[in-house]
């Protein structure tokens, strides 16, 4: 169930510059209405792409979100 929330959030961060800007300004606030587990939310707030990948985030997304990508 959570895999969808993780990946749809990654997808929005990649494709929606406005959402990405809000996330980069205040990640917790940007994600307030997103249905994530606490572990998932913490990983996003910490910009921890390795953890996001462990939690089911697709590799090609965690490697290509502008400004946040892991390489």
């Amino acid at each position: 169930m959570s895999r969808y929330a993780v990946n749809s959030t990654l997808y929005r961060l990649k494709k929606d510059p406005e959402f990405r800007a809000r996330f980069q300004a205040d990640a917790a606030a940007a994600l307030a209405s997103v249905d994530l587990t606490e572990a998932e939310r913490a990983a996003f707030v910490n910009h921890d792409m390795r953890r996001i990948n462990e939690l089911g985030g697709y590799l090609h997304l965690v490697m290509s979100v502008p400004g946040l990508a892991a390489h």
Partner: protein, 281 residues
């Protein structure tokens, strides 16, 4: 009566700067050598004066998001745009210097789609999906400054489980061969991606490849032994970082029992680079 006049498969991040950043001088040198061979393959393809080029590749969660992920999708319509990504990173940045729009071979795409539905392949279709580096990096490397012929982009879901099986991809390739044979067109086909990289799609394992498995695949392709390829499982491909070999399986089905010739194979820690061409009757 139509004919497949060219068939080739190749890695699809073809950018010396990308590999310089990812792998240093060795990466730049190896991808440059691989691109040289792909450009030569492109010259041979252009010499056939084919009517169309079918490109079988995968989506990297660019064309399709989580509203729908088709197992197999045919791009229809008259033209296709390249993907646009603001502040593109990594493999997405490969697209930035490429032309914006590419012609499609509408009649061939429609024939593959419509005859597919008639013969048991429940294909998805798209009028709007853009194409990313998986399509355009090989196409532009093959053609250089020469005009690109009308394309038929076909997506295989290589990454988002559950994927189609290698056998299903092979059988879809047989369908493509039948459509081309019954058509009035001479057609090229390429499959892109691979070889082994990103096992299990795990970030800590980026930088690992399975060269032994690659060599096994190459062995079977060179000998035209396609039954063991049909018996591969999605699980094996996931474990060995061969997800994109599903694209190759479509091509192999389209040209079976033709044998492959390796034009380039290079072991790089991040990815094993390859360019392969099939000897067609």
């Amino acid at each position: 009566m139509g004919k497949i006049v060219f068939a080739g498969a190749m890695s699809h991040v073809l950018d010396p700067d990308y590999y310089q950043r990812a792998c240093g001088d060795e990466g730049r040198r190896m991808v440059t050598d691989c691109m040289t061979e792909i450009a030569r393959m492109g010259e041979r393809f252009s010499a056939t004066r084919a009517d169309a080029l079918i490109v079988v590749a995968d989506d990297h969660l660019n064309a399709f998001s989580f509203n729908a992920v088709p197992a197999l999708c045919v791009r229809i319509g008259r033209s296709v745009p390249r993907m646009k990504q603001d502040h593109a990173e990594a493999f997405d940045a490969v697209l930035d210097h490429m032309a914006d729009d590419y012609p499609l071979h509408e009649d061939l795409a429609n024939a593959i789609l419509e005859q597919g539905l008639d013969s048991g392949f429940d294909l998805a279709m798209s009028w709007e999906a853009p194409v990313d580096h998986a399509f355009l990096s090989p196409v532009n490397t093959m053609h250089g400054t020469r005009p690109v012929p009308p394309l038929v982009p076909i997506w295989v879901n290589a990454f988002v489980a559950p994927q189609p099986t290698p056998k299903r991809c092979f059988d879809f390739g047989r369908h493509i061969a039948r459509v081309v044979a019954a058509s009035p067109w001479n057609v090229g086909i390429i499959a892109t991606g691979g070889l082994s990289h990103f096992p299990e799609l795990s970030l800590p394992r980026v930088g690992e490849t399975d060269t032994v498995f690659d060599r096994k695949l190459i062995h079977w392709m060179e000998r035209g032994e396609h039954e063991p390829l049909r018996e591969l499982t999605v699980g094996e491909l996931h474990k060995t970082g061969e997800h994109e070999f599903l694209n190759w399986m479509v091509l192999i089905g389209a040209v079976s029992p033709a044998r492959a010739q390796v034009r380039y194979f290079g072991e790089l820690r991040r990815i094993n680079l390859a360019a392969v061409e099939w000897s067609l009757p």
